[in-house]
């Protein structure tokens, strides 16, 4: 994967701070591919917190963008709805926590 272990740990910490201590986190997209270069950081999180989680997601994304110094996509699944991207992230991603 093309983020450092330290970045991965910090990303998990940021996400869990906003989305709950039990949140599961995956890195997916181009950053899991060692042969590619650059690109946004795509993260997927599953949480048991209820509701729309707008403030929580916004807070986490700002902190993650500051961490990586670039645009970060954070997909949050709290089981309110289904989306193909959830399955893709789980199947093709690397679980960080």
């Amino acid at each position: 994967m093309r983020i450092t272990n330290a970045q991965a740990e910090q990303a998990v910490s940021i996400i869990r701070e906003s989305l709950g201590a039990e949140a599961a986190v995956w890195l997916f997209g181009s950053r899991v591919n060692d042969t590619k270069r650059g690109g946004d950081v795509d993260l997927y999180a599953e949480t048991s917190l209820h509701g729309v989680l707008l403030d929580e997601t916004v807070r986490a994304k700002i902190a993650l963008s500051d961490l990586f110094g670039r645009s970060v996509d954070l997909v949050v699944n709290n089981h309110r709805k289904s989306s193909p991207i959830y399955q893709i992230a789980r199947e093709e991603g690397i679980r960080l926590a």
């Binding site: 729309v52 707008l54 997601t57 916004v58 807070r59 994304k61 700002i62 963008s65 500051d66 110094g69 996509d73 997909v75 949050v76 309110r80 709805k81 989306s83 991207i85």
Partner: protein, 158 residues
């Protein structure tokens, strides 16, 4: 007038138009009762009003950001990224908070991403976006006042 000040003046002029568009779009959202109704019952006009509002918020903040960068450059602020521009703008009193700026930008992004097919989320985000408008307008006024005081630029200069 120096070319760079001309650029700032043109940005101010453009923002004045965009401000009018943003106020109009925000008014439409409120007048049509879109903050109270579910997206599931939006009419085509409602959907158009929402699309216009999203675009107007985005273009206003993007152009305001360009103006802030131009001001920072004119003030010979050393910056390597837009965060440095925002830090300068906050320190100068043009914007109230760098973190609130980023929050508004992120709320815009949220409405453009996974929530389009999510009526519950759309309602929450739309309400939140409307609450962000006064801050954006206030910061534009702050930038305009700064340019008038520091560079002698006012509406007549544009």
């Amino acid at each position: 007038m120096k070319p760079h000040l001309q650029l700032i003046a043109s940005r101010l002029s453009q923002l004045e138009r965009l401000r009018a568009y943003l106020l109009h779009s925000t008014g439409k959202i409120e007048q049509c009762g879109m903050l109270q109704k579910s997206p599931a019952v939006y009419s085509l006009d409602d959907s158009n009003n929402l699309a216009a509002f999203r675009m107007r918020v985005s273009e206003f903040q993007e152009h305001l950001g360009k103006l802030l960068a131009s001001i920072a450059r004119e003030e010979e602020v050393e910056y390597s990224g837009f965060s440095d521009v925002l830090a300068f703008a906050e320190k100068s009193g043009i914007i109230a908070s760098e973190s609130v700026w980023k929050e508004i930008r992120e709320i815009r992004n949220q409405i453009n991403h996974e929530y389009e097919d999510d009526p519950d989320a759309l309602t929450v985000i739309l309400k939140k976006m409307v609450t962000c408008i006064p801050a954006l307008l206030e910061w534009e006024t702050g930038a305009r006042n700064y340019c008038a005081a520091k560079f002698g630029l006012d509406d007549s200069a544009s």
